[in-house]
């Protein structure tokens, strides 16, 4: 009993002195806060400007056929960010594609609720694979993004939604979890196809149709030296305009609407590796589509019921070997993907959709913000086609 009262007295004394101490600091406290604010919230520091872009030249050749080359100012993206206070910021990217198409690539608010928890809402990039979120031309090899990023998931895939993202450095984990609107499968015309299933289905945040949100999640583990490993999933269903303005008792119309959507289950695994001059990268995807029989019957399309594919890439920065100041990275990439991995019994597999791409080339960096690229690609598929293409281009990224 005596001991407890002793502790109490000591504790009260401590509290008292702490109070005095805190009071004497008050004026100093304000001074400090102002000093910190000046540095941390300076006007220049609140606004972020940046841009990236790429210009391509593509020349198919071979097969005793003559082809025209194509040059394209493929994309130019302007980045704007504003930090309202130490926890709240807004980011947007305005993208001009092929000179004449203007889109928003991202536009979201970020609120840092906890050091490990950011709340995000707006037009978000879907965290699937590497290329969808990390596609600035100076951070990937090859003039064009890997074909898989086009066929197995529709990069740049962005939709409207909200969710959480955060980093746990001690566990070497990063997570993202979003509820977002689904791809559009039918808006008077069918938007899905067997060739590039979801490519034409992105709603891109423009007058989006939504019935129920889809779920998108990704976890990255960076605890192994040199590695960043990602595991992503996408679960949900597509959207259709046929559900709009339908009487709840009209089963015929509802059945028709049901035939215009499909279920989507997607799983993605990816890795990035870098150790000294060696770099590696890979992505692997498996996706299942449900309700495809109904969808194909209704629309006359040839959507498969599952797709599978992967690529692996290795590159090596040879600047130290040839004793160059500027970085030169030759690379080789092997891609294999099939958007008709499986189909429903009433239809047959299209061998053209079982594709292999071999890409070899180099990235030459004039500096860390400006890259010159060139590569050769060989496209083959299970139906026997064999095409060749030469690509070259420039890319930049600055902030």
């Amino acid at each position: 009993m005596l001991k407890i009262s002793q502790y109490l007295i000591v504790g009260l004394l401590l509290l008292f002195t702490q109070g005095v101490y805190a009071q004497s600091l008050d004026s100093l406290d304000n001074y400090h806060k102002n000093a910190a604010r000046t540095l941390l919230e300076s006007k220049e520091g609140n606004l972020l400007l940046g841009a990236y872009g790429e210009v391509h030249f593509e020349q198919p050749f071979g097969n005793n056929t003559k082809y025209n080359g194509e040059m394209d100012a493929e994309r130019m993206v302007l980045l704007f960010g504003y930090k309202f206070d130490s926890k709240t910021s807004f980011i947007t990217e305005i993208e001009i594609e092929h000179i004449k198409e203007v889109y928003l690539e991202q536009a979201f608010m970020n609120y840092q609720a906890k050091p490990w928890l950011n709340v995000q809402a707006g037009l978000l990039l879907i965290p699937m694979g590497i290329m969808n979120e990390y596609h600035e031309p100076t951070i990937f090899n090859g003039v064009n993004r890997p074909q898989i990023a086009n066929a197995l998931y529709p990069s740049t895939w962005r939709e409207i939604g909200a969710g959480f993202a955060g980093n746990l450095p001690n566990a070497a984990l990063r997570y993202q979890l979003y509820a977002i609107n689904g791809p559009m499968s039918y808006d008077g015309a069918a938007k899905l196809s067997g060739d590039k299933p979801l490519r034409g289905a992105r709603q891109k945040g423009a007058q989006v149709t939504m019935t129920s949100p889809d779920l998108s999640a990704k976890v990255n583990y960076y605890g192994l030296k040199g590695f960043d490993i990602g595991l992503a999933t996408y679960l949900g269903s597509t959207e259709s305009t046929l559900f709009n303005n339908v009487e709840k008792s009209n089963t015929q119309a509802l059945n028709r609407a049901d035939s215009s959507i499909i279920g989507v289950r997607m799983l993605g695994l990816d890795f990035r590796y870098q150790q000294k001059n060696l770099q590696g990268k890979g992505e692997l995807f498996y996706s299942q589509f449900t309700n495809t029989t109904e969808y194909n019957t209704f629309t006359g399309k040839d959507l498969g019921s599952s797709m599978f594919g992967y690529y692996a890439e290795v590159g090596y920065n040879i600047s130290s070997i040839v004793n160059w100041e500027k970085n030169l990275v030759p690379f080789i990439r092997y891609s294999q993907y099939n958007t008709h991995q499986s189909v429903t019994p009433e239809m047959s597999v299209n061998a053209k959709y079982d594709r292999t791409v071999l890409t070899a080339g180099f990235s030459y960096f004039l500096n860390s913000s400006f890259v010159i690229k060139a590569d050769y690609q060989n496209f083959t598929n299970a139906s026997g086609s064999n095409d060749h293409q030469f690509n070259s281009g420039i890319g930049f990224w600055f902030r």
């Binding site: 972020l48 940046g50 050091p115 960076y222 030296k225 040199g226 600055f398």
Partner: protein, 176 residues
């Protein structure tokens, strides 16, 4: 046992009392304490050393004692991280955008024992928190990206930033 607990809590309390005003979030020192416990044992006393405001705005420095002898030092630093939307090139106006916090534990001879990232909020460049990568700092006294520190593609700013700051910590500590 109880008396010992009381003694420890008293010592800790005195430390907090003696600590100067901190520009850095308070919870960071608790995180640091966990890491220090693993290296030096849990019975060390941690005393913050007062710094000039110009330094204190980004750094906190601590002296670690066991009984009466100094067993090491620890520094928490606020460093410039990657910006939202990318992490390739440092920019002078990005200070308000992204920051991260890391700590470095030194032994009594001021050799680096451990570097750990305490908080990293940015979407880009988080790979520097990899413990294997941070081990590179446990060998030498002067660091340079590309020489004894490996670059990480897509995390250029964070890599340069933490390397610069560890060099600074070493020079800062040499004055104590």
């Amino acid at each position: 046992m109880k008396r010992r607990l009381a003694a420890i809590s008293f010592v800790l309390w005195v430390c907090i009392c003696a600590a100067s005003y901190s520009f850095l979030p308070d919870y960071l020192s608790a995180k640091m304490q966990k890491h220090l416990g693993k290296i030096f044992g849990t019975s060390i006393q941690i005393t913050e050393i007062e710094l000039a405001d110009s330094i204190a705005i980004n750094h906190q420095i601590f002296k670690l004692n066991h009984s009466d002898s100094i067993v090491g030092y620890s520094i928490i630093t606020r460093a410039l991280g990657c910006q939202i939307g990318g992490c390739d090139k440092p920019s002078t106006d990005s200070i308000a955008f992204e920051q991260f916090y890391f700590m470095t534990a030194f032994d009594a001879q001021k050799n680096i024992k451990k570097v750990r990232v305490l908080e990293y909020t940015s979407d880009h460049g988080y790979q520097i928190a990899n413990k294997g990568w941070l081990k590179q700092f446990e060998k030498e006294q002067k660091f340079e990206v590309g020489k004894n520190i490996d670059g990480i593609s897509g995390a250029t700013i964070s890599v340069k930033s933490i390397t610069k700051e560890v060099n600074y910590q070493i020079s800062l500590l040499s004055g104590y």
